[in-house]
Amino acid sequence: MVNASYIVKLTEVCNLACSYCYYFKHRKDIKVPIMRTPLLESLIGQAAELSQHVWFIWHGGEPLMAGKDLFQTIVDLQKFHSQQKGVTFKNSVQTNGTLLDDEWCSFFERNQFDVGVSLDGPEDLHNAYRVYPGGKGSFSAVMHGWKLLTESKTPAGALAVISRESLGKAEEIFRFFLREGILNFNLLPCMEVDGKNGNLTPQSIQPAEYAQFLGEIYDLLIQEDNPAVKITDIFNILVALLGGKPSSCRVNGTCGVYVTVQSDGTVWPCDNFVGTEGFRLGNLQEQTLAEILSGGPRKCFQSWVISQRSACRGCELNAVCKGGCSWRHYQRTCLGLPPGSYWCDANKAIFRRIAKHLESTVTGDVSGLQKIVRAH
């Protein structure tokens, strides 16, 4: 049995035109704007053949543009396979939140979907990039959607992109989320390499800036001293440093478990690699899911991941970051930087900052923490 979760680009289209959107570059190549029902049926059926537990993360574009009928089809198909084969399905959806209404929220609540809403923070910050095609900010619509979600008691969290605009505003962002009752959120650095000139895009931040930002957030979190506030990446780093198993593939060494399927059936190792030449794993209209998951391109990808981690041997952080994110390794090569630099520097800074705090907080065998804190 294969254990794989699937990020599904149910739609390639979006009602927003966020200026930092990493997916925007693919829009000119869109062949199938919304996944067709036969392909969806085939994907769900094949996934159910391969695993006892299947996790779908419905993504886009903006997945809600696929419409309620298609989401109902998803649930109906899953019910069928659950009854037939005893397969358990889990569903998450990542939305920009602007299309949420009572009906959507009730659907998600009823069918136990987890909902992630893209929300960058306070109004001015959010509206700096997250705009409609005419340039109007989406903040009010997103907050309305969030309110409906919480009223429906649907499990929800926010995902904030940390761009150049966010730098120096860690406390403002942190306080905003708490004030709005958003206790479950994550912070995603905007780090896009411009394919034309090989530099980071103007909205992007440097890894060191992200490390500094996350460190400030960590201090605020500790100061707040409320364990109900959960910032995914920080929680994962804490778990890693405390000797546990973090869920994030960015720190647990399991690259390629979030297989991504585009609406035309093209399969990629993860969401970040969509459209990246040389990383395509196959297409569901030409091969079966099993063939793709056990095929040559995926094996090549795994070998490439291992090769990227060759510089990790001897690194004091390797035991806790497990080689880090392969996409960041790929970006480093695009930027022409040597192994062990770029994202690794940021990782070292943030892990060291948190390890230093832990060293003074926990008791027990802290020799591992000391190694990280004192390493150069």
Binding site: P155, G157, P227, F235
Partner: protein, 72 residues
């Protein structure tokens, strides 16, 4: 491997993460199978799932263990 024998109460955030790690270890030994409800370990922790499966609350002990096993 970093080993935490006793959690400090000086930070509830750290104590909560330490309790989670201890729960993972118990789960590995089979004690938390009911809590996990059959989901692969690496899937159970993402924020989306977490909001439902791992309630926040008291940081000492394993508050979610009692809650989840009694409802499953």
């Amino acid at each position: 491997m970093i080993s935490i024998r006793r959690k400090s109460a000086s930070s509830k955030v750290v104590a909560n993460a330490a309790a989670f790690v201890e729960a993972q270890r118990m789960q590995d030994s089979g004690l938390l199978a009911a809590w996990n409800q059959g989901w692969p370990n690496e899937w159970g922790q993402d924020w989306g799932q977490n909001s439902r499966r791992i309630p926040s609350g008291p940081t000492e002990g394993f508050p979610w263990l009692t809650r989840a096993t009694s409802s499953s």
